[in-house]
Amino acid sequence: MFAYIIRRLVATIPVMGVVAIFVFSLLYIAPGDPAAVIAGDLATSDDIARIHAQLGLDEPFLLRFGHWLWGVLHGDLGTSIFTNLPVTQLIAQRLEPTIALTLTTLVVTITFAIPLGVIAAWKVGTWIDRLVMLVAVLGFSVPSFVLAYVLILVFSVELDLLPVQGYVSIRDGFVPFIQHLILPSIALGLIYGALIARITRASMLDVLSQDYIRTAQAKGLASSDVLIGHALKNAAVPIATVIGIGLALLISGVIVTETVFAIPGIGRLTVDAILRRDYPIIQGVILLFSAAYVLVNLAVDISYTLLDPRVRY
């Protein structure tokens, strides 16, 4: 098991390497020039050329890549071109809201989606099942920003129940923390929840048709025991897989959600950086996201050993 983890971690190195090169090259050939953005509207071409040189944007590709890579290996992701602050500091500032949002969304969607999927599987073919599946498909289909606006309009503006925007750290109070995250979690989590509900249902159906379930029922076990004690446990593996895959979906959705709800997280940091060509931030964040994705997948794979005793590495 330990050896497996080590092997997997080592295998991520070439993947991260690819990402690093890809990201760096992408920005290298990008048309926008941060020097022009920095110089401002009133600048002349000379000003821009000067800033360009000063930022080291004139150096050859390999040299710049080398510098950056060296820094990364030392934990230094470079300095933001615009704000002159270290990228690691900028990311650190914004990490908390994004993690809080992502975790809350995970908790909320899993709490609702898995039971819904279980119920749908249990009552397969009935109107409950169809309703759940319909809602799930709808969940896939509505763009999250439309949903976000509708939620704000209904719950914040009309009903005055929840705050419109912003983020409050958990250190400043648990209740405001949660209040600020409810609407964003729903907007973000609907697609994710829909996916989980469907997979749960499918997985459960697969398992429920197995003989040992019928045996358990014949033995006289209560339905909930059968469902949860036997079926869900066995259905857990594909569900865990989807949770892992869904994380990529979540990160994509985080960008829109953070923009609409003005949450100062990494999603917005990245979009702003991309639109302004603040290269060091873009490089740092994409690298970070990829690393996170890889690690999450590793965690999911390891979770298989807990969920399914037949799986051994």
Partner: protein
């Protein structure tokens, strides 16, 4: 799990959810002595000399002070300066600083700080560069007195060092001002009415300022950037909310106190709320600019540019850009309407009834053959986009082969540096806007200049205009200035460096508890108090 425990969980969850939602204080209200302010943009750079971005200029006004400052009559008034004298030959200006001026780190403001700051400013700013050519030397007599000795008279010296908008000659400590003018400073120490709390700065989200208790304001009442800067709150937070629907909801709910610039179309939404005041506190507004590339066909031909004058309809552009007529006016001048130099000299082609026939005739005379013209617009800048969309359509109507290319602002301002033809990534027209103070006279109005390759993007060449501009800088009095300004404008309507597309005011909104908002072309946070 047993049946009992699952039921218990379900009940507990329901209760918890109900409790959360039922808690009354749903909206985090802004507390007593803090103003939560939504600024016009995200504060990224802290160096108002290094960048001309308006948001950094606004930051500058928070933490720095200036030697002179413009009042509502466009007159430079002493701010940090106590008394000054000018020698009879107009070549030596001697300034004495006020007492008790201190930087945020406790150090007193000395002449050396002022001189170093002015030197750095003169390297970057166009007005400053013009001044620098006349300056012989700047020397300090003692810590509170210094003089500027000129080689030749520069009547606008006080206007220059009292400049209202970017770049403003803010006074920084000497050690900071000695930073190379092409490198950003990182130390925001100033001597202004607020202190910047750098530890709480989250770029892209929040910038925090606290009152500077050691600041000694002048006694006069505030008037634009001049007069006493009395801070009446403890703390100001700049919260950048990029989504205007969210910002509107936030101010309606009381989560922020003041929204600096709201999209004019949202005004009716906020007016419905009796706790929010919507006002126009900007007397000069902003001016739209439609800029040509003078180096490449077709707009290297004067006739082609003139043709545009006959079809561009300021009313249409402004309606789309600013909505209700309360928010805009036509301005058929190359200067900011409502200021001394503005007039309608030579404006007939732009002002009169739209004449597509005349425009088409001019196109024919110029030999236009349907060549493609590239108009650049930025999707993330509504003011730019509004102008581009309307003008593109107007040009299409008279037979231009318009290729409207959309990109984000970052790409646009990179692309506009390209001087090549359109098949080498060049461009034909782009759109932008300037705030009123930046266009009030030939000295400040940089799009009006005709110094060819050294000019602002578009690179018009107009030696006649340049000569007249030089004369204006040395004009004896207001009357002479006005006459020269009108002459320059006549020339401009012939050579058409750009087309002014109208004057618009972006409204501001604040909650009813806020008082003392200064009516000025730049947003100032002093004098504002909160109940």
């Amino acid at each position: 799990m047993t049946k009992v425990s699952t039921r218990f969980l379900r009940v507990a969850a329901a209760v918890a959810l109900a409790a959360l939602v039922a808690v009354p204080a749903a909206h985090a209200q802004s507390s007593g002595k803090t103003i939560k302010f939504i600024p016009e943009a995200d504060l990224r750079s802290l160096d108002p000399i290094w960048t001309t971005a308006y948001i950094t200029r606004n930051h500058g006004y928070m933490v720095y002070d200036t030697l002179f400052a413009l009042d509502e009559h466009f007159k430079p008034q002493p701010q940090m300066v106590d008394t000054w004298k000018v020698s009879d030959d107009k070549l030596t200006y001697t300034f004495t600083l006020r007492d008790q001026l201190k930087f945020h780190d406790g150090q007193p403001v000395r002449s050396a700080d002022c001189i170093a700051s002015l030197e750095r400013w003169m390297k970057r700013d166009a007005f400053g560069q013009a001044l620098a050519q006349s300056v012989g030397e700047m020397k300090a007599q003692d810590d509170k007195t210094f003089s500027i000795v000129l080689k030749k008279p520069f009547p606008l010296l006080l206007d220059a060092i009292g400049k209202l908008s970017s770049n403003v000659p803010f006074i920084m400590p000497e050690r900071v001002a000695k930073t190379d003018a092409n490198t950003q400073i990182t130390d925001p120490t100033g001597s202004g009415p607020f202190k910047f709390v750098k530890d709480e700065w989250v770029p892209g989200n929040k910038a925090v300022y606290v009152k500077n208790p050691d600041y000694v304001p002048r006694k006069e009442p505030p008037s634009w950037a001049a007069g006493g800067k009395v801070v009446k709150v403890d703390r100001v937070e700049w919260l950048y909310i990029p989504d205007s629907a969210t910002a509107a909801a936030a101010i309606n709910a009381g989560e922020v106190d003041w929204w600096q610039q709201l999209p004019p179309d949202l005004v009716p939404l906020l007016q419905k709320n009796k706790d929010v005041t919507v006002a126009n506190v900007d007397p000069l507004g902003s001016l739209g600019v439609a800029r040509f590339n003078h180096l490449q066909p077709p707009f290297n031909s004067e006739k082609m540019r003139q043709a545009v004058l006959y079809v561009l309809d300021q009313k249409d552009v402004m309606t789309v850009l600013a909505g209700d007529e309360k928010n805009w006016r036509t301005c058929y001048s190359y200067y900011t309407c409502g200021t001394p130099m503005a007039s309608e000299a030579g404006a007939a082609p732009l002002k009169g009834k739209r004449d597509p026939a005349k425009a088409k005739a001019l196109l024919k005379e110029a030999g236009y053959n349907g060549e493609r013209v590239v108009l650049m617009t930025a999707t993330d800048q509504p003011i730019v986009n509004a102008q581009a969309q309307v003008v593109a359509e107007e040009l299409r109507q008279i037979g231009f082969n318009v290729d409207l290319q959309a990109m984000d602002w970052g790409t646009l301002i990179t692309r506009r540096t390209v001087k090549e033809s359109i098949d080498k990534n060049g461009w034909s027209m782009f759109f932008t806007w300037l705030v009123g103070p930046d266009m009030i006279n030939p000295a400040l109005n940089f799009p009006l200049r005709g110094n060819g390759e050294k000019a602002w993007f578009g690179w018009p060449t107009d030696d006649k205009l340049e000569a007249m501009r030089a004369q204006w800088m040395e004009a004896a009095d207001l009357e002479a200035q006005k006459k020269l300004a009108a002459d320059i404008q006549q020339e401009a309507f012939t050579s058409v460096p750009f087309v002014p597309t109208g004057q618009f005011i972006i409204p501001t909104a604040y909650r009813k508890g806020l008082h003392g908002v200064i009516v000025a072309p730049v947003v100032f946070l002093w004098n504002v108090e909160k109940e």
